[in-house]
Amino acid sequence: MESRENNTTISLTIKQWVANYTEPLLSWATYKLSDKELAADLVQDTFLIAVQSFDKFKGDSEPKTWLISILNNKIIDHYRKQARSATIFVKEDIFFNEHGEWREESRPQHWDIDNTHLLDDTEFIKILRKCMSKLPAAWSSAMQLKYLQEKDGKEICQDLGITQSNFWQILCRAKLQVRACIEKNWFIK
C-alpha cells in the first residue's frame, strides 16, 4: 500500500515536471543537436530515466538541473557514437599542396576581429553554426564532445578509443574547414 502511494507521488511529481520542463529541455536539445526529432526522442528518454532513477534525485538540486544533466549525458552518448566512426580520409587536400604548404587560394586572409563584438553578434553566430553544419557528422560530433564535456582532450580520446594524434587531426581538418567557411561567408565577401 505504501509503495503504491509512493508511486503515485512519483508519478504526480514527474507529470508536473513534464508540464514545466519539456519546453526548456526540448529547446536545449534542439539547440545542441540541430535535429528536432532526435531532440524530442532524447527528451522523452530523459523523463523515462527520471522515473526509473527517481530515488537518486536529491531534493537539494533543482529538478531542472537534474533533468538537464540526464539530457546532457544522452546528448554526449549520441555524439560519442557518431564520433567513433570519424575518419580523416580526405580524397584531395584542398588546403595544402604536396609539400604541406598552404595552397594560394586557401591561405588565411586578414580578419578584422580586434575591435568587433562578434561574440555577441547573432548574425555572425548563425554563419558559424551554418559552417559547423556543413562538416561531416562524425567530425562535428568530435568537436561537440569537446565542448559538452569538461574533459581534457586525452580523456575524450580514451572514451572514443581513438589515438590522440588521430583526434587532433580530425579536429584540425574540421577547424580548417570551418575557418575557411567563415572567411568566405563573413570576412571576405
Binding site: 529547446s27 523523463f47 595544402f96 555577441d120 547573432t122 569537446k146 565542448y147 584540425c172 577547424k175 575557418r179
Partner: protein, 91 residues
C-alpha cells in the same frame, strides 16, 4: 630536397596547423612548442591561422554553454511531446 630539410626543422604548414589544434586542447611537448614557435616566426599565414582558430574556439565554447540564438519551439510541438511522454510513463 631543401624544402624537405626545412620542414623537418620548422615544420610544414599542414603539420603546424595540427600542432595549433593540439595546443587548443592539451599541452604541447617542449619540442613541439619550439617547432611551432620557429614555424610561426617565418610563416605569416600560420600566425594568422592560429589567431583565427583561437577566436573561433572561444566563440564555439561560449556558444556551447550559453545559447546566443533563441530556439523557439512551436507550442504544438511541446504539447505533442508532453502528451507522448505522459503516455509512455503511464505504460
Amino acid at each position: 630536397m631543401i624544402k624537405k630539410i626545412t620542414h623537418i626543422i620548422v615544420l610544414s604548414c599542414r603539420k603546424a596547423t595540427q600542432l595549433i589544434e593540439k595546443k587548443l586542447h592539451t599541452e604541447l611537448s617542449a619540442r613541439e612548442r619550439v617547432q611551432l614557435k620557429l614555424h610561426k616566426g617565418i610563416c605569416d599565414a600560420c600566425t594568422l591561422y592560429e589567431k583565427q582558430v583561437v577566436f573561433i574556439e572561444k566563440i564555439l565554447k561560449k556558444d556551447s554553454t550559453t545559447p546566443t540564438t533563441e530556439q523557439t519551439i512551436p507550442d504544438k510541438d511541446v504539447q505533442d511531446l508532453q502528451a507522448k511522454i505522459i503516455r509512455s510513463i503511464e505504460k
